[in-house]
Subunit: 238 residues, 6 copies
Amino acid sequence: MRPSGRDLSEMRPVSIETGVTKHAEGSCMIRMGDTHVLCTATLEDRVPPFIKGSGLGWVTAEYGMLPRSTTSRMRREAAAGKQGGRTVEIQRLIGRSLRAGVDRVALGERQITVDCDVIQADGGTRCASITGGWVALRLAVNKLIKAGDVISDPLLDPVAAVSCGIYAGQPVLDLDYPEDSEAGVDGNFVMLGGGRLIEVQMSAEGSTFSREQLDELMELAAKGVGELAAMQRAATSA
Amino acid sequence: MRPSGRDLSEMRPVSIETGVTKHAEGSCMIRMGDTHVLCTATLEDRVPPFIKGSGLGWVTAEYGMLPRSTTSRMRREAAAGKQGGRTVEIQRLIGRSLRAGVDRVALGERQITVDCDVIQADGGTRCASITGGWVALRLAVNKLIKAGDVISDPLLDPVAAVSCGIYAGQPVLDLDYPEDSEAGVDGNFVMLGGGRLIEVQMSAEGSTFSREQLDELMELAAKGVGELAAMQRAATSA
Amino acid sequence: MRPSGRDLSEMRPVSIETGVTKHAEGSCMIRMGDTHVLCTATLEDRVPPFIKGSGLGWVTAEYGMLPRSTTSRMRREAAAGKQGGRTVEIQRLIGRSLRAGVDRVALGERQITVDCDVIQADGGTRCASITGGWVALRLAVNKLIKAGDVISDPLLDPVAAVSCGIYAGQPVLDLDYPEDSEAGVDGNFVMLGGGRLIEVQMSAEGSTFSREQLDELMELAAKGVGELAAMQRAATSA
Amino acid sequence: MRPSGRDLSEMRPVSIETGVTKHAEGSCMIRMGDTHVLCTATLEDRVPPFIKGSGLGWVTAEYGMLPRSTTSRMRREAAAGKQGGRTVEIQRLIGRSLRAGVDRVALGERQITVDCDVIQADGGTRCASITGGWVALRLAVNKLIKAGDVISDPLLDPVAAVSCGIYAGQPVLDLDYPEDSEAGVDGNFVMLGGGRLIEVQMSAEGSTFSREQLDELMELAAKGVGELAAMQRAATSA
Amino acid sequence: MRPSGRDLSEMRPVSIETGVTKHAEGSCMIRMGDTHVLCTATLEDRVPPFIKGSGLGWVTAEYGMLPRSTTSRMRREAAAGKQGGRTVEIQRLIGRSLRAGVDRVALGERQITVDCDVIQADGGTRCASITGGWVALRLAVNKLIKAGDVISDPLLDPVAAVSCGIYAGQPVLDLDYPEDSEAGVDGNFVMLGGGRLIEVQMSAEGSTFSREQLDELMELAAKGVGELAAMQRAATSA
Amino acid sequence: MRPSGRDLSEMRPVSIETGVTKHAEGSCMIRMGDTHVLCTATLEDRVPPFIKGSGLGWVTAEYGMLPRSTTSRMRREAAAGKQGGRTVEIQRLIGRSLRAGVDRVALGERQITVDCDVIQADGGTRCASITGGWVALRLAVNKLIKAGDVISDPLLDPVAAVSCGIYAGQPVLDLDYPEDSEAGVDGNFVMLGGGRLIEVQMSAEGSTFSREQLDELMELAAKGVGELAAMQRAATSA
């Protein structure tokens, strides 16, 4: 029934390749099917003004799409002179999601910026960004730990995200672009590997949904996040 | 336990005053406690390029805060030269939410722009904007119906929104600003008056939540939306 | 002869409602006929860099129109990404006018920002902004006095403004929008309540005027400002 | 008493050199003392959208200052990414003033853009721009007449402008920069050569003025404009 | 003598991997040592307004760097709200260089946009962009040829570019970042594979150079371009 | 053969008039045929952040064109809200070129900003800007020397620039606008008066060139720069 032939609760093949750029303190290329996102984590010894002197750390994120990551070419945001509303919304979500999995006291007064740049898009780029972003963050924090710059680990459970939606009347996991453009209801669940919720964003465009449907979608998401968390752990355990 | 002394499931006093500006096709001032939002609906006989010729209508929204609607003065976005990320995110949410309650075929090829301007803010401005925005929209559509410009009513059930969150460990309905700034988990539910869901946005900042907690919050939201929908119907039945 | 049936030297009904928002140090809604402007005054303990350390205070103003304050919807300036030339010109006029009535030594090194937001427009919004802006300013200064933060009152005579113009060949006071769009000559007089001039801005668009006409217009303006000053005093005397 | 030793009613030496650039349809360098402004008029066979098809012509103006036209270097507006409020205000004034002296029916559906660029500034740049701008406009219109493109002359009396103010308690004509920075009251009068008024802009900064003072300033201005108009006529009669 | 131990006339190892993204009509990842650039070519059936109806084609380019492609993180240009001067300069160079190798009549009225996005930077990104950009262009044109959309091949000789400079007093080929930041004289040569010149950009920063040195650098460049052209041909011959 | 009747190696008549504005520390109007550029040098006792405390001086440049310096009117960059790519590229070139002739240690920790504003354009504006810019710089430095603010002269040989190109198959010196718009190959040479090279920028648009042609162009350029340097010395020796 799904264009890709996948089962309703089947994610696309996922791979996480770490250490893909030599400059960043942490980096990975995450591939969820044909969606490929390059995630890097940059470590800096300064924090935003609003927490200066608080002893707390900060994690923030930026998101971008290469102009031809999409089927038809998008206008380059730098050339357009501003980040679009969708971009801003997504990078705020990534930052908020990652921070939910960070002990900011343990991190200490330093900032980690996670950049998520979409190399190729086929749906689900924000979820791939969160999941891959956590891997880059984990690798950067590992450096801090090895260097003895932090004492207790500021990261516990992985943060991962997956999309779900109602496609052709059925709840499905991990929508690809053809499904995404047809689904009347879809959204994203961000969770800790252990299953606690960080963010639920479910929206209907020209449609509505019931609480029962929301429950079914949440079941699918929990399954997906469980699988992703296992891959995140595997990719970052050396 | 709540700073305002309200019960956990008690909304602030709500009033909806219609016809507050003489130029707009529909308008209201919605007051949810000390949060006051002026909502106007503007009717135009043109649609955005991407649906030109489709026969479908369009509903969109813009959101703004007066500089001194807040405790300390905010920078005027027009002077800053751009709408901030939060503004863009909110106005996209308002537009999407209202469209979920519109039969765009019945509306016909015309556009309604709903402007939501916050006169005074005390938490929950985006929910007040959606709820009041629907009232302005309803009044503008009533004009179309009276003029015979549409045949079947493009609006059915009211669209309303309410915030919920976990405050001091307890699920509470309709957070005011003091609660909102303390709550580790909070979000918004947009629903039809009949209870079907349009948008769920629940986020944790530096915290997480369980599925049971999400269920409790959804119960509260359903209660709140039911009450708001009754007020919306009362305000727009002439 | 006037579309509204008013006498040549008759202003529209004016009302000034104070204390309309709970956050601002001073606020009022001024209504001159169908022109409604919300004015707030914000008090801050900092001054612009160019007077830092001088011991002098500063008063500045910002102006905006809600998108649907006008007959047809205007583009939101925040969305357009800049304040238009007309907006900038008006807010500079408001700031300059209010400063002319302030003893900046007595005010001391602090800043008051007056925001004038047009809720509904029917001509004369800049005059209403100055007149209402002074009321908000007065109320904020009253707080300073009550708190003992200033010793001598930095405000003396009220600052008020009114428009005049030549409509259908006749000098008229306080133009509403239908008159304003027809008048070949029109402008604004800003004065102290006692009659001394602060700003005269009279312009002809595709027309010219004589010194005698300017004199007649000034007579009308003096009458109007006298009436406005009485209302300003009434609204701010507790 | 004046820093320059001039009489109260004495303008600075004025010269108008025409034909200073080979590309523009009309051009001049106007020098009022040490204030030097290059004015060019550009003729185009198109009009702004809002008068398309009306048969009417349009005259508009733009204003700029070279970064080092002033005592200390100003930031280049193109580099700053926008025209400041003062620039916008001035160019709107120049355009409005010139249009008051144009028969837009006789001009026919074409646009003339007058650019006024300040090469060296010593006070009174907006007045020099209007006076020199009219000369450039006159020369461009002369080309239209010679080419037979207009039948009746769309320009009649010259449009000229001069500043006045109250300096050291005395009304003075044509303020230079040292006077301008001291004067508590100053402004600009735009008139036709014959004496009728186009624009009066008199403002007090931290001060006020009486009607008698305004009358005295107007006397001075009329004298100044009379002299300027004679020079404009001399410069443009071939 | 060179930090990398390379001979004076030795380029870094170069690889060109084609077909790296599924959406673009042509794509490659070019690696010159640690400089990695993703190049995509987008084919569109429209041309810029200034050649509409001319029958001629157009090739243009855009350039960007991922924020953490560099040793320390650069600000994202989309977030900064504009492309910096260096970016604009580079993308103009890439476009001009590629067009020099295109028969625009044979291409016909269509546009090819080449996007060059730097994934990892270690000096010479503009040269890698031109060289890789030509490969992406070649692949996109191959599609046009296969589809029968062009009759004669609009591309002949490859366009390739390489940097040279004077490092530690010696002319060297293909500077990496450590060399580039030390060299007082450096620049880029863009040539056809056959050796004819397209662009010479040699600059000294706080230094100068002689004609003899320019000749030596040109010799090195010719050698480098010859090697690159062979690799370009190999990568695009199927 | 040249539209102007000049010999292949003949420059346009050049004049350099110094002291043209009273505010700038150094200024000149350079005229190369019908290309007229006003150059001013501004001296400031501060340097950009990246060299603060280094003891080194800085020289930078900005470039602009008056809207009607060209055959048809260009849009004013300040009104467009940004400097175009060509402007940015040119001003970077001017700054880099001038710095190559400056001993930044001898200059000491101060900044000189050279503004080059094109009053009238007929090709070769960037070369005229560099050549005239050096004259303004020389005059400003002379002031420093006279005042005893620098001990050893930070400027040695003049920096001058001239364009060359291949027009109608022939190498020509100092292209005017009609030649420039036809030439398939053209560029600029920046040199010290003594002949050493600072910058070579030769590009082909839709064409290519040989090393022999580059040599011929360089011969022409050396001749031109020699003549310009003599004029620069004459203009600045008092």
